[in-house]
């Protein structure tokens, strides 16, 4: 990581302010490795973040431009920004599960619909952990949190029959993948695919929260137990077991098959502008 830190990150923010034992760094690193392997410079990428653990701990870590948006709205900001910045710049967003799948879900769907270029890495710590550990939209069934003291009994959005990635696929996303943070190489490969899509990509990555999820759900802040708890409940697509919660791998790969939002806007606007200028000159 030291080599990558020198090349892409701000030393002032690395190590980050994440809790000891937090798995966010694995997801964060996977994205930076993917960026490096694709040969991008830090000027090529604008890094956006949101509210919550995922946003706060990754904001201003990137050596280039950074923005941290209001809770759930970074997808709308990104669409506006996409129109204004040079086409060759890439937008990467590190956001939380509450941000993407809760408060920001409407904006996320419209970002997918418009196929605006953004690589969204949803860093999922299975609930609202920066506020102390309340259940969220990906909290596994039966898990105790500060706001589900009798166990999570509401349906969540990672069940096979109602998978949020299916919703996003139907909404027009052109690249979708799911991983757990300890996936290593497959996670990096998905991030690389996502970055190569001139359109809307989302990588859902579950990572362990020791401080609150571990304490509430597992009754301990033992880092190794928490890491294993997630790892043992993840399996690659097609290799699921009965107790698999997270089926990992690429869910939808339609990269570069649909016009990108800002490209479509640019093309249409120049067409209209030409037509109007032609008419005006007669």
């Amino acid at each position: 990581m030291d080599k990558l830190t020198d090349k892409y990150l701000r030393k002032r923010k690395i190590p980050s302010t994440a809790c000891s034992g937090c798995g966010l760094g694995q997801a964060h690193k996977a994205m930076v490795v993917a960026i490096d392997e694709l040969g991008f410079d830090f000027y090529d990428i604008i890094w956006g973040t949101s509210i919550g653990c995922a946003g706060r701990q990754t904001f201003a870590t990137w050596k280039g431009d950074n923005f941290a948006g209001t809770h759930g709205r970074v997808y709308a900001i990104a669409r506006g920004l996409r129109l204004a910045i040079p086409v060759e710049k890439k937008l990467v967003l590190t956001v939380g599960d509450g941000d993407a799948f809760g408060i920001g879900f409407n904006h996320l769907l419209h970002a997918a619909r418009s196929n605006a270029q953004m690589t969204v890495l949803v860093c999922d710590n299975l609930g609202y952990q920066s506020t102390g550990g309340q259940y969220g939209w990906t909290t596994p069934a039966g898990v105790k949190t500060d706001s589900s003291p009798y166990g999570m009994f509401e349906p969540n959005w990672v069940q096979t029959e109602m998978d949020i990635l299916n919703v996003l696929k139907a909404a027009g996303a052109t690249f979708l993948a799911r991983h757990v943070s300890m996936d290593g190489r497959p996670l990096v490969e998905s991030c690389k695919k996502a970055l190569q899509n001139n359109g809307f990509s989302l990588v859902h990555c579950v990572f362990p929260c020791i401080t609150n999820f571990g304490k509430n759900a597992l009754g301990s802040r033992n880092t190794v137990n928490m890491f294993n708890w997630i790892k043992n409940r993840a399996a690659p697509l097609g290799e699921e077991k009965e107790d698999t919660l997270w089926r990992t791998g690429i869910y939808h790969d339609a990269i570069n098959t649909r016009p990108e939002f800002s490209q479509l806007m640019r093309d249409k606007v120049s067409e209209i502008q030409r037509r109007y200028q032609d008419e005006g000159s007669h």
Binding site: F59, D65, F67, A76, G80, L83, S270
Partner: protein
């Protein structure tokens, strides 16, 4: 568009829809973008995104949409992002009456977001012509102060039909008092200097400045920090960059204030139009009545209220909003009165009846809650 606006984000809402429609027609013809959002919250965020990328952006709505701007408005204030926002007031609360003028947003535009620790700039035109001029001015001020500027209009201004005179040459623009400011990009690294100075370029992303902007309290470079000292410095800038340069923002119209008038009528926006007629006609009858029309309503022009007189605030609301500011700004022993009406303009006859009563020391005929507080 005269001011260089090249991005507009909208969400349909009466009575501001026509602005979005007009922008969807005209912006692409000059190479600009009209974006329609999934809601008003997204609309202002889209506009902010475009502005962060270096474009001159605008959004327009009415009260029920303006409350959804609360979230992005605060972000734009904190990150100091230039932006123009139009709020065309209808009758509230909630959806209320959609196709009629109100002025219930007077305080809403002063406090458009949570948290305090900021000043806002709000311009309130009273005609289509002035709406054009004030929109150009709003873009100018938003760049110099690097903050969102709100145009406080109402249903009659955005839905009404009036001839306007559009300048074509630079001389004509200058003659109309139009001022312009190009977008510049802050070179960094101290993007958020804790000073009241203006004319500091805003953060622009994508131009290689290693920019930082966030919803958190920033250090001078833009890193997130949670210290009282940093928050104090940031707040100082949010407040005093505007308070200490109020002279650049202030504009108003006054009428017949030179002969110690008995009554000074205060009105802004559409309401001021019948007020002006009523005041002029009252003068013809020999009544000593003057008028103050704030055009820049925030920061509130306290300095205009130095005369000792009976003040009458005429507003398109029943609860009395601007009258509170008049009461605060006027000399301590002034009598303060309120005339409120909503959904339609006060008539000249109604205003004359009110003037007569105030001049003869009678109680205003409007009863109960409409006057008891004042």
């Amino acid at each position: 568009m005269l001011a260089g606006c090249n991005a507009f984000a909208g969400y349909p809402i009466t009575p501001a829809t026509e602005i979005a429609e007009a922008m969807s027609v005209n912006l692409p013809r000059i190479g600009g973008y009209y974006m329609q959002a999934e809601d008003e919250c997204a609309a202002m965020h889209l506009a902010i995104g475009a502005s962060l990328g270096g474009m001159k952006a605008m959004t327009a709505t009415s009260g029920p949409g303006f409350i959804l701007y609360a979230d992005p408005y605060g972000w734009a204030i904190g990150c100091e992002i230039p932006l123009v926002v139009l709020n065309s007031q209808r009758v509230g609360p909630v959806s209320g009456i959609t196709g009629a003028p109100g002025q219930g947003e007077f305080y809403n535009v002063r406090y458009p977001t949570q948290g305090g620790n900021y000043e806002t700039i709000v311009l309130a035109p009273n005609s289509a012509q002035e709406a054009m001029l004030m929109t150009v001015e709003a873009f100018y001020l938003s760049e110099r102060f690097r903050t969102p500027v709100t145009i406080l209009a109402d249903q009659l201004i955005t839905d009404g039909f009036e001839d306007i005179s559009v300048p074509e040459t630079d001389e004509e623009k200058k003659a109309m008092g139009m001022r312009f400011m190009e977008r510049k990009a802050h070179p960094g690294p101290e993007f958020y200097p804790p000073t009241d100075e203006i004319d500091i370029p805003p953060v622009v992303l994508g131009v290689g400045t290693k920019a930082l902007c966030s919803d958190w309290t920033p250090t001078e470079e833009g890193y997130d920090i949670e210290t009282v000292e940093a928050q104090h410095k940031h707040s100082y800038r949010m407040i005093y960059k505007i308070r200490n340069h109020k002279d650049i923002i202030s504009r108003h119209e006054t009428l017949f204030l030179d002969d110690e008038p008995d009554i000074i009528v205060v009105a802004y926006g559409s309401a001021s139009r019948t007020v002006k007629t009523a005041v002029k006609k009252a003068r013809e009858k020999g009544q000593k009545i003057g008028m103050i029309r704030p055009i820049s309503v925030w920061p509130f022009p306290d300095e205009l209220f130095q005369y000792k007189a009976k003040y009458l605030s005429v507003e398109l609301d029943y609860d009395g909003q601007m009258v509170r500011e008049v009461q605060r700004a006027a000399p301590g022993d002034s009598e303060i009165h309120f005339f409120g009406k909503c959904g339609e303009l006060p008539t000249v006859a109604e205003l004359h009846e009110t003037f007569d009563k105030l001049l003869s020391g009678e109680q205003l005929s409007r009863i109960g809650w409409e006057r008891e507080a004042w």
